[in-house]
């Protein structure tokens, strides 16, 4: 895989003089969107390179999806151990070692990070280490990485170094970073973003989480399970704003029962930082303000696309509300320049980025894929209880003036849920009355993040209620609720 034109050492940090190496496709950013795109491009026979400045696998593998799932798993097992008695078991003096929990999470990330390096090698994708600047369509200059993160990471063995590169197609997959709101600026010590929240030295006694999207909710859940006093503030009228209102309502009830304080329609207007604590001023949205003293604050107020320092302004690449504007095939307004994933706008999900990348390179290959259908992208939040959804919420369906049928099935009617000791939750489905099309599915409860895919497959195959009703769900499983919810939409639920 080592290209003949490169004359350098394995460290790759030196700026060697060399001929610009030419590729079919260069991908900027090796997050889940970028590296999956690279693999698909290589499968399609393109000579492919991927530029990364800090971590193969990007945020997802190193600072996002994966390490948080490792943390949440520790919290979940801790929760079970605390409730061992409910299952007829005994566990004495249950406690945790925060450092060991974090260590496990980092270990999981490291393993996957190495895995990406292996996948690049296996697929003969060249890794270029550094920061990319697009000089013109077809031309990329890679400079030595100087971001803070890259100081702590070395180039993988065999990577190419800084220099001039050429590619017929350039795909931007630079992802996003935590959004910074004035007055709530993260400081790494008292006011955290997910970076710091993921590697705490200990569990703070009290914590304010600003923003109740997936990231805020997952951290609120994690820290609450480990015993922190958690306050969750959301500026919109409902927590988990993108989820179905009924599901979000059930989530709120569950969180409040766990002891999380929740403010919705409220705003943190001020943070006064002391030596080891913060006093937050919260405008409750009803004309009142209150102050809250906490040890730490997590700012989870969304992310902004990494559109800067790529040379996009000069190239005239259109940017819309902080994201690169693309069509259904990842094409920007400048021929030869594409964008996928978080940098190209919502939903900000790894699997959306991956699929966008696959469609993008398949379209370049001329395979005529269908454009991304954002209504068929599932979303999962791994708090306790878990939340998963796909398609339209009930409110969105009504806004679209669809005549709908809604089916619901509660966990309490499912044998497996009761056996698991997880009898709280709901599966909800929304059908278009006229066509029988499944337009939305929403779930809350144990393991729903693993269940939702059944509905996603059904939606993608364009099944109607009939095929779903004729689908045999294995007994006893939680998945039976998915069949029952469909039956309920047509007045035929069996076990309720």
């Amino acid at each position: 895989m080592a290209p003949a034109t490169y004359i350098g050492n394995d460290n790759c940090r030196g700026a060697e003089t060399r001929v610009a190496e030419s590729f079919d496709i260069i991908i900027i950013g090796s997050g889940p969107g970028g590296y999956v795109t690279a693999i698909r491009a290589a499968q399609l026979g393109f000579k492919t390179a991927i530029v990364e400045r800090a971590y193969l696998g990007g945020i997802c593998l190193n600072w996002g999806c994966i390490p948080t799932k490792a943390l949440l798993r520790s919290a979940e097992i801790f929760h079970y151990m605390q409730h061992a008695k409910d299952y007829g078991l005994a566990a004495e003096k249950v406690s945790y070692d925060a450092a060991a929990v974090v260590k496990r999470s980092r270990g999981v990330s490291k393993r996957l990070n190495d895995g990406v390096g292996f996948l690049m090698k296996k697929n003969k994708v060249s890794v270029i280490w550094g920061e990319a600047l697009i000089d013109a369509p077809g031309k990329v200059t890679v400079k030595p990485a100087k971001s803070e993160a890259s100081r702590n990471s070395d180039a993988p063995k065999g990577a190419l170094g800084p220099g001039a590169y050429e590619a017929k197609h350039i795909i931007i997959a630079t992802g996003a970073r935590p959004r910074v709101l004035p007055g709530l600026e993260p400081d790494q010590k008292l006011v955290w973003t997910y970076f710091e929240a993921m590697v705490p030295e200990g569990v703070p006694k009290s914590l304010l989480v600003i923003g109740s999207g997936a990231i805020g909710t997952e951290f609120a859940s994690f820290y609450r399970t480990l015993g922190a006093e958690v306050t969750l503030v959301e500026v919109l009228p409902q927590i988990l704003p993108v989820e179905d209102a009924e599901i979000a309502g059930l989530a709120r009830k569950a969180f409040e029962k766990q002891g999380i304080k929740i403010f919705t329609g409220a705003k943190v207007t001020r943070l006064d930082r002391q030596a080891d604590s913060v006093t937050a001023t919260i405008d409750d949205g009803k004309g009142g303000t209150q102050t809250l003293a906490v040890d730490r604050v997590i700012s989870a107020v969304g992310v902004s696309g990494n559109v800067e320092n790529l040379g996009l302004e000069r190239l005239g690449v259109k940017i819309d509300r902080g994201a690169i504007a693309i069509d259904g095939y990842g094409r920007t307004n400048v021929p030869g320049i594409y964008a996928i994933g978080d940098v190209a706008g919502p939903p900000l999900l790894a699997h959306k980025a991956e699929h966008e990348g696959v469609i993008c390179v398949e379209a370049i290959k001329g395979l005529k894929p269908h454009p991304m259908d954002k209504l068929k992208i599932p979303g999962c939040t791994y708090c306790a209880p878990q939340i998963a959804s796909v398609g339209l919420t009930e409110a969105a369906a009504k806004e679209k003036k669809l005549d709908i049928r809604v089916g619901r099935f509660p966990f309490v009617g499912n044998g497996k849920a009761i056996a698991l000791g997880e009898d709280q939750g709901l599966v909800k489905v929304i059908f278009d009355k006229a066509t029988g099309q499944l337009v939305g599915a929403h779930m809350i409860g144990a393991e729903v993040t693993e269940l939702i895919q059944g509905y996603v497959v059904a939606m993608n195959l364009e099944t109607t209620e009939e095929e779903l009703m004729h689908t045999v769900f294995p007994h006893p499983t939680l998945s039976e609720m998915m069949g029952e919810a469909v039956l309920d939409a047509y007045g035929r639920a069996l076990n309720i």
Binding site: T435, L461, E462, T463, T464, G491
Partner: protein, 457 residues
């Protein structure tokens, strides 16, 4: 429950048909396999066989009715033990025209019961094993448009197509392996552009030059100086297909002269040796055209690059030479196809053509006998036409136009001699067959037609 007998789809492209004749009347007992009616389609009259048993409770569409939409109920069959009058009373209203699509699928009832199975399209082979209880349908299985026994379409696409009154088999699928998905039905509904035409690359709507209106055309002639003869199906289909062919296929033409004296003498030799058949007539009588069919078939096999069909996704390179022969019939023409003509003897080809011609005139050809083919022949030599150029009949990439064999003075080695010459003109689809390739095909044809003994080796 009484069974609705629906207008069958007798070919993949059929949208509507005419009820030429009812062979059963109300009250008649029907067994599976009985001929119910004769249905006139684009190019043929076909018999419509019953699949179910019962009594004809009501005929909804009287014979002679034209343009009955495929899948429209045309009669009601009371199953055994059912009251004929009740069955007739519950009969749906006849829907004679394709322009009035079937009503949208019944709204699912609010009562706790499953949504009714959608009124389903004619069953295709391999279907009907679905778990849904479907009323038996007497519609004959029609060949799928994709050549296989099954139409690949998502359940939602089927339902949307049904509601829009579209035949899902006619919609070009863009899903995996050509599966018809909801998007395709929406596209077909809005533009019609995604409709699967009888052949690739249909003209985009709107590209066609605007024709003056019928009224404007009639205004050019003195009233009473003409009669108006309504177009029958065959005329409409010829007009439609040939306009599409000329608009979408870049034609070019190559003409050569072939000396056919050897062919004529060979033909005479072969014909005089024919023994008498059972009817007392000679068992065969080869025509010049039979030789032309065989020569073209062998030439296509010798120059396989010219034995092709253009499609947007790739060239279809055919392994056999299936030759369509234009046969004039009252009111139009039809092109039955001699399949694998390169493998058949002249006598076999001759016999097949006689059978085709007779049945073509009686409009009894089956769709599979006149659809497809890899090239074609149009012969106007018997009318004394010296040379002409024919319009390509998709999915063919070429067509050979045959002129009359005429004695001409030719110069051989500086001397004038007499030879019987026949001019043939090849029309080629330039997307598929370029000039030099067409010339190569003509060269191969010339060798076979001028030296018929070459056809024997």
């Amino acid at each position: 429950m009484p069974i609705n007998i629906l207008m069958p789809a007798l070919s993949p492209t059929m949208e509507k048909g005419n009820i030429a004749k009812w062979l059963k009347k109300e009250g008649d007992q029907v067994k599976a396999g009985d001929i119910l009616a004769e249905i006139e389609t684009d190019k043929a009259t076909m018999e419509y066989e019953a699949i179910d048993e019962g009594v004809i409770a009501k005929i909804l569409v009287p014979e002679g009715t034209a343009d009955v939409a495929v899948n429209a109920p045309i009669a009601v069959l009371a199953a055994e033990g059912e009251d004929v009058k009740t069955a007739a009373a519950g009969a749906p209203a006849a829907r004679p025209s394709v322009s009035s699509p079937p009503a949208p699928a019944t709204k699912p009832p609010a009562a706790p019961q499953p949504a009714p199975p959608p009124p389903h399209p004619p069953p295709r082979a391999g279907e009907g094993r679905e778990g849904v209880s479907m009323p038996a349908s007497p519609v004959a299985p029609a060949p799928a448009a994709n050549g296989r026994g099954r139409i690949f379409a998502s359940p939602l696409a089927r339902r949307l197509a049904k509601a829009a009154g579209l035949d899902v088999a006619r919609i070009a699928g863009t899903g995996p392996h050509g599966r018809v998905i909801a998007h395709d039905v929406e596209a077909a509904k809005s533009g019609g552009a995604a409709l699967r035409a009888p052949f690739p690359s249909p003209a985009t709507p709107g590209v066609a030059p605007v024709q003056p209106s019928d009224d404007k055309i009639r205004a050019l002639f003195e009233p009473g100086s003409y009669d108006v003869v309504p177009h029958d199906n065959i005329r409409k289909i010829i007009a439609q297909r040939l306009v599409l062919a000329k608009q979408t296929i870049p034609h070019f033409y190559l003409t050569i002269s072939c000396t056919i004296d050897k062919l004529l003498s060979a033909r005479e030799d072969i014909n005089v040796t024919a023994p008498n058949g059972p009817d007392g007539k000679p068992a065969w009588k080869l025509s010049v055209n039979d030789f032309v069919i065989k020569a073209l078939a062998l030439a296509l096999i010798k120059v396989p690059e010219a034995n092709v069909t253009w499609t947007e996704t790739g060239m279809l390179k055919h392994k056999h030479a299936d030759i369509g022969i234009a046969v004039a019939i009252p009111g139009g023409l039809i092109t039955p196809v001699v399949r694998k003509a390169e493998t058949k003897s002249l006598i076999a080809i001759s016999a097949e053509m006689k059978d085709y011609a007779a049945r073509a005139r009686a409009r009894k050809l089956k769709p599979e006998e006149y659809q497809g083919g890899t090239s074609a022949i149009s012969n106007l030599g018997m009318y004394g036409v010296e040379e002409f150029a024919a319009v390509i009949n998709p999915p063919h990439a070429t067509i050979l136009a045959i002129g009359a064999g005429i004695e001409r003075a030719v110069v051989r080695a500086g001397k004038i001699a007499v030879a019987t010459q026949m001019k043939v003109t090849l029309s080629s689809d330039h997307r598929a067959v370029d000039g030099a390739l067409g010339a190569e095909l003509m060269g191969a044809f010339k060798i076979y037609i001028e030296s018929p003994t070459a056809m024997l080796v």
